[in-house]
């Protein structure tokens, strides 16, 4: 099948608006991500206005308490074609933001902090360290490649439905803790586009946390301390577990380990794999006993029961009866090692850390960074996330049908954008407005009181 009138790079130079691939050429579209398709994406699908409203945190209104400099003090970074990286882009209005993105067509947009002054003016002031971050969402980055030592289905950049549950676990554990323990409410979870998830905590209190406070929260979540230089990666001391760890274990980790990962990853089915687990048992005699048992029975006696499950039961039996707590605790340590979330500490600790904006397209996979609903994150499937090509095809199919919401509403992106708005943006902006009004009224009252002296 010939590619008649196929989209040519040179066409871009002659025509103002890039041509959508024509009807009937859908099958001929190249599968790789093509940066020139980004132009169409940014012009028709990317939710510029939503990004603007989010970043404004209510300061885009007419209320006297609105800070018109607020948005302009936020840093955006672009990764452009040919790996050119441009920092300190700032915008003062929705149109500026939208036009810039459409014009520059960045391969990736990163969001930085809000500084004390507009970064565009940073060189106008003398002295070092004049530009300081004053607000920044509390962010987390969980990357599947940090779990390579506990997953066998894929490694590196790949993910599949057998290991994705690790991300589900991470979302559940962290989200619950952020809400129940830390009292945060405005939390956005986003698929990173390839192999992980990002989390944006946008409550006012979260945005104002210092580096030290962020580090404390990240450390509160930290359990796994492994790298190839020490074999004991998880060490759970203390007579009992901290309530946060205990809750995570009973509500999420145990179930996911025993009913999903144990079997999908075949954690105990081969010698190489079960040795890694036996290595974690401090009592050598128990480890030997299990090793002996397992070397004998290469296949489970009953064809129905999965061999991993059988062996896990045997392991638990021996360990949980032991009189030494360190040995009993080993069961939890194994479960934690294979399931507990592994955060990138550095991302969370520093206010000036940049993080990719939601709704960007991942250049290696073509997938859109869509929001994930933590309330049903177990249903999220990274292999069915809309890709750029897919969205363009959908636009094609829907043709000229107009939609009052916007072009995106004709495509699979619709659900993502609606989720973003209903579960995150609207509640957030509502609170921002309320907070702004109440603090303004409080100040008014204060000055009235002063004047009445």
């Amino acid at each position: 099948m010939t590619r008649q009138g196929a989209y040519k790079e040179s066409d871009d130079m002659l025509i103002d608006e890039p041509k959508l691939p024509q009807q009937g050429q859908i099958a001929a579209l190249p599968n790789e991500f093509n940066p020139s398709y980004l132009k169409i994406y940014y012009s028709k699908l990317f939710p510029h206005a939503d990004l603007y409203r989010w970043m404004s945190y209510g300061n885009d209104g007419k209320h006297p308490a609105c800070d018109s400099s607020y948005l302009g003090r936020r840093e955006f970074s672009y990764t452009l074609d040919n790996d050119i990286f441009v920092r300190y882009n700032t915008f003062n209005s929705a149109t500026e933001l939208e036009n810039s993105i459409k014009d520059k067509c960045p391969l990736k947009i990163d969001i930085g902090p809000i500084y004390n002054l507009n970064p565009a003016h940073r060189n106008a002031y003398a002295g070092d360290n004049v530009l300081t971050p004053v607000e920044r969402e509390l962010i987390f980055d969980i990357d599947m490649s940090d779990y390579d030592d506990v997953r066998y289905c894929c490694s590196g950049a790949d993910v599949c439905l057998n290991c994705w549950p690790l991300m589900t676990v991470a979302v559940k554990v962290i989200d619950t803790s952020l809400r129940d323990d830390f009292g945060f409410r405005h939390i956005l979870w986003v698929y990173s586009g390839r192999r992980g998830v990002h989390c944006w905590v946008c409550d006012r209190k979260a945005r104002r946390l210092s580096n030290e406070q962020r580090a404390a929260v990240a450390d509160y979540f930290r359990v796994y301390k492994g790298n190839e230089n020490n074999y004991k990666k998880v060490s759970l001391m203390g007579q009992v577990l901290h309530p946060f760890l205990a809750r995570s274990y009973t509500e999420v980790l145990k179930e996911y380990f025993e009913t999903k990962l144990l079997t999908s990853q075949n954690l105990l089915s081969s010698e190489e794999r079960y040795e890694k687990i036996l290595e974690m048992i401090p009592d050598q005699s128990i480890a030997s006993e299990l090793r002996g048992k397992w070397q004998e029975s290469r296949r489970s006696s009953s064809a129905k029961e999965d061999i991993n499950i059988v062996r896990w039961e045997q392991l638990k039996q021996l360990l949980q009866k032991h009189k030494a707590q360190g040995v009993r605790r080993c069961v939890e340590e194994i479960v934690f090692t294979y399931t507990y979330p592994r955060l990138d500490m550095e991302v969370s600790k520093h206010m000036n850390h940049l993080l990719k904006a939601p709704f960007c397209v991942h250049p290696k996979t073509g997938r859109v960074c869509v929001p994930i609903n933590p309330n049903n994150c177990e249903e999220f499937d990274p292999t069915t996330v809309p890709t750029l090509i897919q969205l363009l095809e959908e636009l094609n199919r829907e043709g000229l049908r107009s939609d009052v919401e916007g072009e995106w509403n004709k495509t699979s992106l619709a659900n993502a954008i609606k989720l973003f708005r209903s579960s995150f943006l609207q509640p957030l902006l509502k609170i921002c407005k309320e907070e702004m009004e109440s603090s303004y009224n409080a100040k008014l009252q204060q000055s009235k009181n002063l004047l009445s002296w």
């Binding site: 830390f182 930290r222 592994r342």
Partner: protein, 460 residues
């Protein structure tokens, strides 16, 4: 002898007149005192206090545990902060603190050090106060914490007990143990970090014995702000005004007490690329040797590892061009020349102050390295701390540590005296003693080179 009203220099940065301390023995240094100080006392009080702070700094970098530090602080204080006139003891305390503020407000590095040491000092002294005095201090600090009501305590008793047992505090939940304070979690980052408190709906529930943390955090943040203000006043008016009187004293006080930061490499530290493998074997401390070997092996290191090793090499005398050549040689084997130039070369030049905001970064001290947190795929950090026992033994024997010294070293490691372990390693490998103890990887290197050079010179 001149009676100098040196407090005039202090008055410019006090917000209110000298406040009465909440506790009779522990001042909070909220505002400058209305006191007269003799010029000699100005200097000598400060030196005495500096001995205390330096002693604390040494103790911390040797990895002393809290109860050892407690003893150390008490001794240091008793020895140095006496005064023949007992009514003057408190004044000496206050005056010496404010003088040292002047000395240590002037750069980021100095402020950081002063802040850490004064906070550690305060924390230990606070612990020794009576419960009454502690409560008075908490009030003075306007701690936004409320005592947990009986009703709430009852409903949370189990969880609170769980937390206590998880950190090894066996509370009997008697009346004193049942006193908990409720505080927004961001006020107590040290307790949040180690999961030492129960946190619910944004509030941390702090046990009485953890209150020290609370108070110390506030002390630290108040002092931090005060130091910035002091710096501003110093730079804009005081230094000029006092240039013939206090300024020379202030400037001299500082340089005599901090260890070298190795940002300017010494002459015998110059190494060339062709010698680097040899010199790594003979003079690198284990932490850097490990990074170096991993780099040769994997042709790659993650960011934190590149920083730790890269800055060390800078301190050792590797100039920016040689450094680029070194990293390029290794990384290009894994990622290719182009990617190296694109992704890594910039950062190396950045470390030498040639890019961006042009900060000349200083090589990491042992304290900083010990406190780092290597994760998956990382090789930085302090091997004495971060390696499992087996791996550490293997690494040390590859270095050439004999079995007897090995046991001594492992003994120190078990006691968490990581720097002493490194010192013993140094002593075993060089067959010489290192009295000062290792505080900095570059110090290890330069001491080692000095010894080897001396050996070579004496044998020729």
């Amino acid at each position: 002898m001149q009676v100098v009203r040196s407090h005039q220099s202090h008055r410019s940065f006090s917000s209110s007149s000298g406040s009465v301390s909440a506790s009779p023995t522990l001042p909070l240094y909220r505002s400058a005192p209305e006191l007269e100080v003799r010029l000699e006392d100005f200097e000598s009080f400060a030196i005495d206090r500096l001995r205390v702070l330096k002693g604390i700094s040494d103790g911390l970098s040797r990895g002393k545990k809290p109860d050892e530090m407690e003893k150390l602080v008490n001794e240091l204080w008793k020895t140095n902060m006496r005064h023949q006139d007992s009514s003057q003891v408190l004044n000496k305390d206050i005056i010496s603190h404010f003088v040292l503020r002047l000395v240590y407000c002037r750069t980021e590095e100095l402020r950081k050090w002063f802040l850490s040491m004064e906070s550690a000092l305060f924390r230990h002294r606070f612990r020794n106060q009576t419960a009454e005095a502690q409560r008075a201090i908490m009030e003075e600090f306007d701690l936004p914490c409320k005592a947990v009501s009986n009703a709430e305590f009852e409903s949370l008793k189990d969880k609170l007990g769980q937390v206590a047992r998880s950190i090894g505090h066996n509370l009997s939940l008697s009346t004193t143990d049942a006193i908990y304070y409720k505080v927004p979690f961001e006020e107590v980052p040290e307790l949040v970090t180690g999961r030492k408190v129960f946190i619910n709906q944004g509030y941390a529930y702090v046990a009485m014995n953890q209150v020290v943390s609370l108070v110390a955090t506030i002390f630290r943040s108040l002092l931090s702000k005060a130091l910035i203000l002091t710096n501003r006043k110093w730079a804009t008016s005081i230094r000029e005004q006092e240039q013939h009187r206090l300024t020379p004293i202030v400037e001299a006080l500082c340089s005599s007490y901090l260890g070298p930061d190795f940002s300017q490499p010494k002459e015998y530290g110059e190494i060339s690329l062709k010698d680097i493998d040899q010199v790594a074997k003979s003079s690198f401390p284990l932490c850097m040797r490990h990074l170096f070997e991993k780099l040769r092996e994997d042709h790659h290191l993650k960011h934190a590892g590149r920083m730790q090793l890269g800055l060390f090499l800078k301190g050792v005398g590797l100039n920016v061009d040689d450094s680029l050549a070194f990293w390029r040689e290794e990384f290009s084997k894994k990622v290719g020349l182009e990617k190296f130039e694109k992704d890594y070369a910039y950062n190396i030049r950045h470390n030498y102050g040639k890019e961006g905001k042009k900060t000349d970064y200083t090589p990491y001290s042992c304290q900083k390295i010990i406190l780092s947190t290597p994760g998956v795929g990382d090789h930085h950090g302090c091997p004495y701390r971060h390696f499992g026992e087996e791996n550490l033994r293997a690494a040390l024997s590859r270095m050439g540590v004999n079995s007897r010294a090995m046991e001594d070293v492992m003994g120190k490691v078990r006691n968490r005296d990581y720097q002493l372990a490194c010192t013993l390693t140094f002593e075993a490998l060089h067959a010489a003693s290192c009295d000062a103890g290792i505080n900095h990887p570059n110090q290890y290197f330069s001491d080692s080179q000095r010894l080897l050079k001396a050996k070579k010179d004496s044998s020729t």
